[in-house]
Every structure is written in structure tokens, then in C-alpha cells.
Amino acid sequence: MIPTPFTYKRAGSAAEALELVAEYGDDAKFLAGGHSLLPLMKLRLAAPEVIIDLSGLRDLSYVTDQGTYVAVGALTRHHDVEHSDVLARDVPLLAHAAGQVGDPQIRHRGTIGGSIAHADPASDLPAVLLALDATLVAQGSGGTREIPIGEFFQGLFETSLEPDELLTEIRVPKPASAGAWSFQKFSQRAIDWAIVGCAVQGGNVALVNMGGTPLRAAGVEAALADGAAPSDAAAHAAEGTSAADDIRATRAYREHLARVLVSRALTEASSRA
């Protein structure tokens, strides 16, 4: 399978990427690692006329300790997030979850920024960063702005990024108790997307693939805040969700999985804390 014809442009800097997207507008798409976009293009579910390759923006691949938060460059590959000493120490949930994305080959190419900007609710890292209360930094023609991750995901593959904006950095606040984390992912085969997944950091609980966007399990978080035991709090996991019925699972099965995985995640997180 090959994509529909397009024009390939390689940007050498963020400024050049923004110039290119200003020039080509809606016909253009940014390409980071390409492991979400290229498969869609091969299936002809996406057919951009211009591809702006960001792989030349090497200065956007980094993980740095900024005191109260860890800054991760948007073009940092999953492999590098997985093996970051800073993240292993301060945000082990993110380092671990990055190592659960796809397979080693995919992690050698796919990037954290690409995964977030693609906004597939079945992807692992959007929910993980939601549980971590991350802040996203976007650069556009009008300058740079910060977007709280809670305002970022607008719908299936839709974000609050403007068409001429580039996601440049993910800022992850260091959790008060870094060890109180868990990531649970249920899939049928090793490299599948999660049928349902769950990320827990302290009292924050986020769900993978339980709606059109990654979701915070507000009912679970409220019950935990009221002092509920993990298994009792987990009973609220499907509240406010809108999981799909599809060939992989029914909605009822996904809701069941959400309760089971949240219970396991809360138990594991509290045992680690």
C-alpha cells in the first residue's frame, strides 16, 4: 500500500516548519516519527497534499530537569523517553508507559509530541500525560502559548492546536509522590492498541480508549478524595465515559475492563507509594 501522491518538505527548524505550514495551510500536515500518520495515509484515511517532515528539528529532542517539572521536547522518541534517567527518577509513570507503546521498532521512530498531537484516544501517552497534569507548549505565528492538557483534547483526532501551530514541548510537573503510579493496558495481542487502559498517579486517574478523547475518571477521583478504598472507588470507573462498541470489544465489556483495570492500578499505585 502506498499513500496518495504528496509533496515532501523537510523543515530544518521550528521557524521553517511554521513558514511552510503558513505557505501551504490546510493542505499540509506535520510529520514527526510518522508512525500514526503514515499508516493512515497508506490506508488512504488521510491524504495531505504536503508533508512537512520535522525530523530535522533535532533541538526538539530532549528531556531536562527544570526543578518543579520535567521538560520533554516534542520530538523526543518513545525510546528516549523510556530510557531517560530524569524521568525514571522523577516521573517513572511516563518512562514506563513510553516503553509500552507499540514495539521496539515503533519506539525507535514514534515521538511523544506526535502521539499527543495525533490525539488518538486509544494511544497510551495522551491519558498518561492527562493523569500527570502536563502542560503543553505550542509555537505559532503569533508566538508561544501554554495549553493545560485538560483543554487540549477536543475529540477524536482533534486538539486545540491551531492549524498553524506546532507542539514544541511537554512540561510534566514532578508528582509529590513519584512512586505512587501504575499503568495498566489490556490488549489482545502484544503490539495492539489498548482495548482499555488506565494511568494512575497519586489520586489522578486517567482512562485510555473510553471515549472520543482520553478521560479523567472523575467519579473515581472524587471517591478517592472522600477516602474510599481502591476497589470501591474503582466501581465508579465507567461513569461519564462513552466507550465505543466495535469489533474489538462491546461498550459493556470496555466498562467492565475500566473498573477492573482502575482497581488493579489503584492497588498497585498504593502498594508502590
Binding site: 501522491p5 504528496f6 503514515l38
Partner: protein, 156 residues
């Protein structure tokens, strides 16, 4: 567009369509047909090659993205007519049946052992999660990976 790749140590320049996939560049332009197209959906790993020394699925990389980079295919592993330790281990441990997944398996293991020269059996199995064998040959493939790691320890 013009792309310049180094494939198995040899510089190859060509005019290709912007949309050409790396696997098609390797097979149709570089005439290196050991790298197979299997699922064509980033799942099976049959098309695994090394890009700057790391395993990637060449069905999900554009030739244009690989321009300026070094690619190694299974044809590039042997030196002076002598098989690479991973190739030798596949031979010794009978790590293949039909052979379709083998080039990708070998390249995935070369990359895995570079990152972790002394993996446990569990780490090998997890490290090969992106490569499918439909002959149910995983046991001997894992044995081959572990044998190649052992040989690396002896020669190191």
C-alpha cells in the same frame, strides 16, 4: 525528489516519488530483495531494517525521511563472506522454517543485542514483540538470539 541514502555502506542516490516507502526503495531501487513486505501495516516486522543502527519497520518510513541516513539490511550483515553472529546462531539453532520473517527477525535481534548485549529470555521475547512468525517458530528464534548473545560474551 532526489534522495541520498547509504545502504549497507554504499551511497545510493536516486530520483524517486516523494511518497516512496523505504522498503520499496530497498527492493526496487537498491535491488536488495531480502527485506520482505509482510503485513504492510507496521505490525509484522518482516520489513525490519536498521536506520542509523536502530531497528525500524521500513514499510512505515518514507525513502525521503531516510535520505541522509544509513540503512543496513540483512544483506549488509556478513563481513568478508562470514556470517554475522546472529545469522550463524539462526543457522545453528534452526531459527527459521519458511524463512519469510527471518530477515526482519535477524535485524530486530541485531538491534536488540546492541541495546542489551545480555538479555534474559523474557527480554528477548518482549524485544521481539514487533515481529511475527507464522510457522510458530518462536522457540528456536529466541534460542538463536540467546546463543548469539552468548557468543558475543565469549568474543568480547
Amino acid at each position: 525528489m532526489k534522495v541520498d541514502l547509504t545502504v549497507n555502506g554504499k551511497d545510493i542516490s536516486a530520483d524517486v516519488e516523494d511518497r516512496m516507502l523505504l522498503v520499496h526503495f530497498l527492493r526496487d531501487v537498491a535491488d536488495l530483495t531480502a527485506t520482505n513486505v509482510g503485513c504492510d501495516t507496521t505490525s509484522c516486522g518482516a520489513c525490519t531494517v536498521l536506520l542509523d543502527g536502530e531497528s525500524v519497520k521500513s514499510c512505515t518510513v518514507l525513502a525521503a525521511q531516510a535520505s541522509g541516513h544509513e540503512i543496513t539490511t540483512v544483506e549488509g550483515l556478513a563481513t568478508n563472506g562470514e556470517m554475522h553472529p546472529v545469522q550463524r546462531a539462526f543457522h545453528q539453532e534452526h531459527g527459521l522454517q519458511c524463512g519469510f520473517c527471518t530477515p526482519g527477525m535477524v535485524m530486530a535481534i541485531v538491534s536488540l543485542l546492541k541495546e542489551n548485549p545480555d538479555p534474559s529470555e523474557q527480554q528477548v521475547r518482549q524485544g521481539l514483540e514487533g515481529n511475527l512468525c507464522r510457522c510458530t517458530g518462536y522457540h528456536n528464534i529466541v534460542r538463536a538470539a540467546l546463543a548469539a548473545a552468548d557468543e558475543g560474551k565469549v568474543s568480547a
